[in-house]
Symmetry: C2
Subunit: 381 residues, 2 copies
Amino acid sequence: MREVAVIGCGMTKFGELWDKSLRDIFVEAALQAIDDAQVDKIDSMYVGAMTPGLFVGQEHIGALMADYLGVAPIPALRVESACCSGGMAVRMGFLDIASGNSDVVLCGGVEKMTDGADVTYALATAADQEYEVYHGVTFPGLYAMIANAHMHRYGTTREQLAAVSVKNHHNGSLNPKAQFQSEITIENVIKAALVADPLTVLDSSPVSDGAACVILASMDIAKRLQKPCVKIIGTGAATDSLALDKREDITTLRAVKVAAESAYGMARVKPTDVSLAEVHDCFSIAEICIIEELGFVEKGKGGPFTEQGHTALSGKIPVNPSGGLKSKGHPVGATGVAQVVEVVDQLRGDAGKRQVKSAKIGLAQNMGGSGASSVVHIFSI
Amino acid sequence: MREVAVIGCGMTKFGELWDKSLRDIFVEAALQAIDDAQVDKIDSMYVGAMTPGLFVGQEHIGALMADYLGVAPIPALRVESACCSGGMAVRMGFLDIASGNSDVVLCGGVEKMTDGADVTYALATAADQEYEVYHGVTFPGLYAMIANAHMHRYGTTREQLAAVSVKNHHNGSLNPKAQFQSEITIENVIKAALVADPLTVLDSSPVSDGAACVILASMDIAKRLQKPCVKIIGTGAATDSLALDKREDITTLRAVKVAAESAYGMARVKPTDVSLAEVHDCFSIAEICIIEELGFVEKGKGGPFTEQGHTALSGKIPVNPSGGLKSKGHPVGATGVAQVVEVVDQLRGDAGKRQVKSAKIGLAQNMGGSGASSVVHIFSI
């Protein structure tokens, strides 16, 4: 298997981008990544998107984006795994180069969610239609069940959930591309409009437009470039049942655990070796469960660990230095690629006011649905 | 790059499968393929589907199918490239094994189109929404424009278009899994209801439900099995503009041509070496353009070549021995994988009444939209 590195990154601001179309924002991010990588050819392209068909009536966006970017007739296709479509696109690019089929690959993610579609319905297509959605479940409802179970079993408190959002908004206030660049307090979160008990609107990631792209290359090409070389040292992906009722324990995200084990194994690193992590905080409870599955803290202790500041920018293991999905925004297909952009910026030392000190190894964890699929990548400088 | 073989195949009957759901039909095809391959483990899974979100309100089907098949937590994701989603899923499985990441991969395709969705709208999401669909174009309309241009430029006749459907219905009448197992005549095609001038309903592939799966494995695993070993000797994929108005010549399918050149190059074979081909005859004119791009006949001569019987089962180069999309049916995401199933059946000598004699090298060509993406695979026994 050939070694693979990230040689270029680009992303749009995340938010309500009403003056730009789906193709506009993808091409904006892709051109930034190409400029950053300083490459003059791309061999193939993978585009992560959850449901552009339901959001804006456009499928077939692999070919569409290749054409609008001016790189057709190269091979291009879309990868979908609900909200971890972007991370899966990066994984496909990795395998394409590892196989020797391509030398330089563009992996991107994009979603345009604010153009008038029924967003709650569209997102619910990531849950089990036959066993969950037809019976009235929404995504906030599913995560609220996980939150209640975690609080009941481990004593996680309402304040500890809120601490995730407060930390991520602080980090996002330092990120010029974040959708929300404002600080919030524990009280703000708890007193915000209830979405699904106990989760309020400030426990929940927003509806967003945005795109992010990275350029991957074989290590021999990457080494010729005169800039810090960020290597992908591990990739892991896994699945679980879509429906929560089929899981033995809904506080355990098995797909995250298995994907992380694969990635740690390939990278030959331990959780304690990781300098920083971008994780899939679609709801505050998700970040708490994920840092447990990733092995940053013992199962059930994610709440106190967060409340004590260990996941803050200056903590033991900074989590979501970008602001995470909560503050940076969550254009679902773009999120997994944007996580990689942040990890690469951090490892290169280009993260400005939110720079994590001495960052050597970074991890990106992306997740689909209520945890039915997950992909984990580990990077080193 | 490791060598890759197909070691198992399965598919449902194609048609209106109202008593089975999306997940039912996928699992039916997958279990057949697993039984055929006689494997007891699968390392990862790729599922091709065009738009299950619009057809049945379900995205995230990589994880869903892995769970229902009982193989979770293995990595599983969906691949989308409109009507060539299935072929692209096979390509991803090939690259996954070629890289050394997986040894045994399940590649499947599925679509459930007859459950009440607005099929014309859903299929049109494969065209350019901003430059074509908003202005009233449908898929039959796009292919009708190509047909008119081909007739005008090359003198292709109405009867020659019809000859494609007549041949494919004859082949389909020999295929127990085909949606339509009845012969038709030139007169039937020409006098059928007009869809978009000059194309009638009998120039057009039907709306279908169905699934198809193949198991791929590294060559060293394949060789241990005591049955004919079908090797993937070439893969190629390419893209073009979604919108027809952006192409220099709408009778040329550039993505097909470029994908075929890549596949022929990797396989080190010429068009004249191919024993049989499954191609993407979504409309009769498509098969005529495709056999030209694949190099089976000179550009512009596809009509007479078909009319003279050279693409019939006993012709120079049998095309669509399965009955093709026209007669076998076209559950869009499943089609590309079903093509591979037919080629493997033919190379193994298992194609029954429609067996092509002395089949040694087979080609499968799958296409998305009005030709904006295409993937070509070449197989040898």
